[in-house]
């Protein structure tokens, strides 16, 4: 789908306000074109001829025009709001819903910041365009009807005005459109500056730590300069453009006063007609200034919509269908699994092993060997290049992903907390979870002691604007969150990293209780954790280098080396 197609589709969904707004715009244009005619008559009859008896009639006529103007204008404006705000809300929801379903392969590549800018800046330009659709129709009607009206009043003066007006209009539109080529440079400079600010805030401790504050502040001046220099060039060009655009109404006014005045002295044109012409050229000239701008806006909106369509075009993976979850105790089998993030860089090369239901295994190996990757293949965050992973005898690739993910809980290495209470963060929207369930999960995960010590306990708010938790506290919350779901398979990605010894012991005590009943696969190089599990799968170079109980593997020098055990007494 292209940008214009997406906009058309979005507008079609809100066709009602679009049509109503267009009708309002046409009514408004009619009011604008109609007004100079009675205004001219008023000048002739009342001012020049001094016939004040006609005044009440004109009051009625102008009252009617006022209603048409107010009614049509309000209708256009209100419906334009409904249209544009509706379109932006629709697009935002569509984008959000689609992003939710896209695989982590996509999200690893694109990143939340990029998606946020599409959801805000790109949707904003589409919103701005749809906002002016009824206005653009109104302007078009105004220009055509106004020109016809002028020619009807006096064909000589009307034609003279049109001869100036039409080419000037074409020029203004084409010129105004080109102005925005320039703003690409401003955008680029702004982007560069934005990233600079982001890094200055994010990396402030590095900046301070190396005493780079002053240098960084000077660099800020340079980045800011780049934005302003590009902005100044654009501003000068825009000023020149507006100057020329203003020349159009000015030239037409002079034609009306000069040529029209001459026609009038010859008696071909009344003073009132002359006045009507003056009003026409002012009314018609007004929107010229915005015409080029609106064409440029349309172009920006097409590009913005294109960037949204780009995301919408990405196929959700895995698709949201598949078979139901098989019954079983959680037997997990990896059969010849190969995978890599980049086509030419395989990480896992044919990994095969099985964990029986209720048993536990540890994945051990150097960093980068693909331990975490292997875990993430189980709930289908990524699809293996070849080979299969099966749960209780059924290939996970054929199981409906959401059912699969309810049965398989993965605890990531770094914990994401959502704004909300600790309770919410453990329950994560599980309506069936009662107070006891949440407390028990927190208990087993070793999170209960620190939560109970907080003044607000489980109601403590965490997240962006809430309390900051330590790495170990977050880790324990993540484990509690996973346990609450009573998963058939529990996958833990290095739960002991970034946790001090005391916390490790607490998590350890919890793990000891879990490992008894749930199929558990733990990525770890942490010795006490390894000693806890039934079996160790030792990965090296993308393959299983050895597997078996820890005590057996200790005989391998390579294994001891990976765990840095040779330097210490075993």
């Amino acid at each position: 789908m292209t940008g214009p197609q997406l906009i058309r589709q979005a507008v079609r969904q809100r066709i009602r306000p679009c049509l109503n707004g267009t009708v309002g715009g046409i009514l408004y244009a009619v009011a604008l074109v109609a007004m100079p005619i009675p205004a001219g008559r008023l000048v002739d009859k009342v001012l020049v001829e001094g016939d004040s008896s006609a005044i009440p009639m004109y009051l009625v006529i102008f009252g009617f025009i006022a209603l048409l103007r107010g009614g049509g204008g309000a209708l256009r404006r209100y419906e334009a709001f409904r249209l544009s705000l509706g379109v932006s809300a629709d697009l935002r929801e569509r984008l959000y819903e689609h992003c939710q379903r896209l695989s982590l392969v996509f999200h690893d590549r694109v990143g939340a910041g990029d998606l946020m800018s599409r959801a805000s800046a790109d949707i904003a330009v589409v919103e701005q365009l749809t906002d002016v659709i009824p206005y653009m129709v109104q302007t078009l009607v105004l220009w055509i009807a106004g020109t016809v009206a002028m020619i009807l009043i006096d064909w000589r003066l009307g034609t003279a005005v049109a001869v100036i007006f039409v080419p000037a209009l074409v020029w203004a539109i084409s010129r105004g459109r080109n102005l925005d080529v320039m703003s690409g440079r401003v955008q680029a400079a702004m982007g560069d500056y934005g990233r600079f600010v982001e890094e200055s805030v994010g990396g402030i401790r590095i900046i301070k730590g190396f005493g780079l504050d002053r240098q960084r502040a000077e660099l800020a001046g340079e980045k800011s300069d780049a934005v302003s220099v590009a902005g100044e060039v654009l501003a000068r060009r825009r000023a020149a453009f507006v100057g020329w655009v203003m020349a159009t109404p000015a030239a037409t006014i002079l034609i009306v006063v000069g040529f029209g005045g001459w026609l009038s002295t010859r008696g071909h044109l009344s003073e009132g007609d002359l006045f009507a012409f003056l009003q026409y050229v002012i009314v018609l000239g007004g929107p010229v200034r915005f015409a080029g701008h609106n064409v440029a806006r349309a172009r920006q909106a097409f590009a913005g919509a294109g960037r949204i369509a780009e995301v919408l075009a990405v196929e959700p993976a895995p698709p949201w269908h598949g078979s139901r979850l098989p019954k079983g105790a959680g037997r997990l089998v990896f059969d010849g699994v190969s995978f890599g993030y980049h086509r030419d860089n395989p990480i896992l090369r044919g990994v095969s092993f099985a964990v029986e239901g209720g048993r536990s295994a540890a994945l051990v190996g150097a960093s980068g060997v693909g331990k975490s990757t292997l875990l993430q293949l189980v709930p289908r965050f990524y699809e293996p290049w070849s080979g299969t992973i099966s749960l209780d005898g059924v290939d996970v690739a054929s199981i409906e992903p959401r059912a699969l993910r309810r049965a398989v809980s993965l605890v990531f290495q770094d914990t994401v907390l959502f704004t909300g209470s600790l309770w919410d963060n453990i329950a994560l929207g599980d309506d069936r979870a009662g107070d006891d369930d949440v407390r028990r999960a927190a208990e087993v995960a070793g999170a209960a002691p620190f939560i109970d010590a907080l003044p607000d306990g489980y109601d403590t708010i965490v997240g962006e604007r809430g309390l900051t938790l330590s790495g170990g506290q977050r880790q324990r919350l993540a484990i509690a969150r996973a346990l609450l779901r009573k998963p058939r398979v529990l996958l833990l990605d290095d739960p002991m990293s970034a946790v001090d010894a005391a916390t490790q012991q607490m998590i350890h005590a919890g793990l000891r209780r879990i490992i008894g009943g749930t199929t558990t696969l733990i990525v770890t190089n942490h010795l006490p954790t390894i000693e806890l599990v039934d079996e160790v799968v030792f990965l090296a170079d993308g393959r299983i280098a050895a597997r078996g109980p820890h005590e057996e593997l200790l005989g391998l020098e390579r294994y001891r080396d990976a765990l840095a055990l040779s330097a210490q007494p075993v």
């Binding site: 100044e232 507006v242 006014i253 001459w262 990531f412 970034a498 080396d561 840095a564």
Partner: protein, 569 residues
């Protein structure tokens, strides 16, 4: 909370200060605006002259004269408008540049307290969104506001010069517009505040759930989070439509009033012509002037929003600049004289929140409660203790990121509190757990520590740490671009870069705060060996809970309950 809002407000003294700061720019803009709008008001008079003396009196010469004068005024008007827009835009760009530099400068030079007080997103918004708001104002609204003011005042003067009575009539017809404008300003403000709150909530939700999408997917939360999103999206739409309805109400008043004001003015004009107090040309000119008066009024609804939001943004920006200026002033100014690296802490107390005597708010509990630490030059000390015991805090106090509330902190006999931070921190260096990467190559990220470092020096440091081969094995070697939008590197690799960076700075005191925690055991062991070598002759504090790293130390110091207990190594 209410106290904070009023702090951010753009009050008169703040605005006055900004105007005085940019006095020249303000004068230039005012002059250009006067020229542009002054000529715009003159034009109807030339036209009225041409019609009165030329058309009505059937005098071709005077018609030509009037038209000629109108042409000259029109050209002057175009040139004036061009000048006005140019001057305003260029001056505004320079002001924005100045503001951006001041904001970012004040952020990077601020006390680190600022970063524990304010969310990084808020600081980012000050330097980006708020400045963009100002830009929108200067680009769009400022010329329009000036136009409204000038046209309003000059048109009224022109009207008064032509006919006091008729001006009175016009002014009376304008009364409803004035009332509507005042009403709109009031109601629109609160409605817009609620729009901003809801938009912030919506985008907050979106950002949080897109960054944490793996958890949403892992727990199959898509449907209910979509429900939450729909609700927020719907509420945002509702709030924006509420503003739209106020806007429409205002708009209708203005639209309806223009034709009425026009017909009433001309009817009154007819009566004045009858009475011989007005010419036909003057009445016609009045008709045009009424149009002139209404033209900017149309824009008020849009302008009110932009002006109010720009004022709020400027208020927030200036508040931040003022706030951090105070922080910078309190920093020390004594240059640090580099010595052998003798560290001495005595009875150091620190807590993150000091009690507020104003509000009676009690402070947080002491994180460091009389901590002592004495490290001889060249000695390596391991700092251990349970999480939350204050290990990292002690490190932050030592490098001067946090200021001790009581006690003495000396490095090479010089009190840290009084030291000028830049010279001090090049000698005393902290490597935190999370290695932060800036957008750029790995070499640039390492070289950050010493802008004058050569490529050979950077490679030498990597080689010394035994990580050079590892970096060279990456697709583009040391030129591999990392950070935002760059290649993804593991947490362990980030730590390796951070270690190399710190070593390049060649500090006499090096503090490693869990700086090798993300390395796998084999790499960590190799790194421990390398560190043993490179730490030779430097004073070092190692915070870690893994035995391999603690082994680096000559001596172990335990910190517990905010106090230190020295153990032998």
């Amino acid at each position: 909370m209410s106290g904070r809002i009023s702090d951010d407000e753009l009050d008169k003294p703040k605005l006055g200060r900004e105007v005085t700061r940019n006095r020249r720019a303000c004068l230039e803009i005012a002059a250009a605006s006067t020229l542009a709008n002054g000529t715009a008001v003159l034009l109807p008079f030339c036209i009225s002259f041409a019609i009165d003396r030329g058309v009505v009196a059937r005098d071709l010469r005077l018609l030509l004269l009037g038209t000629g004068a109108a042409a000259i005024v029109a050209i002057a008007n175009i040139l004036g408008a061009r000048l006005e827009l140019g001057v305003t835009a260029v001056r505004a760009q320079r002001y924005l540049r100045d503001i951006r530099t001041r904001v970012v400068g004040s952020i990077v030079e601020a006390d680190l307290d600022l970063f524990s007080r304010e969310k990084s997103g808020a600081l980012f918004a000050r330097a980006t969104n708020d400045v963009e708001n100002l830009q929108r104002f200067t680009e769009w609204a400022l010329p329009m506001v000036l136009r409204t003011i000038f046209l309003g005042v000059l048109t009224l003067i022109a009207m008064l010069a032509a006919s006091i009575e008729l001006t009175g009539v016009v002014v009376v017809t304008l009364v409803p517009v004035v009332i509507a404008t005042l009403w709109y300003r009031r109601v629109a403000y609160s409605a817009q505040v609620s729009v901003r709150e809801r938009v912030a909530q919506l985008f907050g939700h979106m950002n949080e759930h897109l960054s944490g999408l793996r958890v949403v997917q892992a727990f199959a939360l898509e449907d209910e989070r979509l429900e939450d999103f729909r609700r927020l999206n719907e509420r945002t739409y509702g709030a924006r439509m509420r503003v739209a309805r106020f806007d429409i109400a205002y708009y209708v008043v203005v639209e309806i009033l223009y034709p009425l004001s026009f017909v009433i003015t001309l009817a009154a004009g007819a009566w004045l012509i009858d009475a011989g107090r007005l010419s036909v040309g003057q009445a016609v000119a009045f008709g045009l002037l009424v149009g002139r008066l209404f033209e900017p009024i149309h824009m008020v609804a849009e302008l009110v929003e932009i002006v109010q939001s720009a004022a709020a943004s400027l208020g927030r920006i200036l508040h931040l600049i003022d706030q951090t200026a105070a922080g910078i002033a309190s920093g020390g100014s004594e240059p640090f004289h580099r010595g052998p690296g003798h560290v001495s802490m005595e009875g150091v107390k620190f807590r993150y929140v000091e009690p507020d005597p104003g509000t009676g708010e009690p402070g947080s509990s002491w994180v460091l409660d009389g901590a002592d630490l004495e490290i001889r030059p060249g000695e390596r000390v391991a700092l251990v203790g349970p999480s939350g015991a204050g290990k990292s805090t002690l490190a932050k106090v030592l490098v001067g990121f946090q200021r001790a509330a009581a006690g003495r902190v000396l490095v090479d006999g010089q009190p840290v509190a009084g030291l000028e931070p830049i010279s001090y921190r090049s000698a005393v260096c902290l490597v935190p757990q999370e290695g932060y990467l800036f957008h750029g190559s790995i070499a640039e990220n390492i070289g950050l520590a010493r802008p004058d470092a050569t490529r050979a020096q950077i490679e030498a440091v990597c080689a010394e740490l035994g990580v050079l081969d590892r970096f060279l094995a990456l697709p583009a070697g040391l030129e591999t671009v990392v950070g935002t939008g760059g290649a993804s590197v593991s947490a362990g690799e980030r730590q390796l870069i951070a270690l190399a960076r710190a070593l390049l700075a060649n500090p006499s005191v090096l503090i490693l705060d869990e700086a090798t925690s993300n390395l796998d055991p084999a790499t960590e062991r190799d790194m421990a060996r390398a560190l043993r070598r490179v730490l030779e002759g430097r004073t070092a504090i190692v915070i870690a809970h893994r035995p391999g790293t603690v082994d680096l130390a000559d001596r172990v110091v335990t910190i517990q309950g905010g106090k230190t207990v020295a153990l032998t190594g």
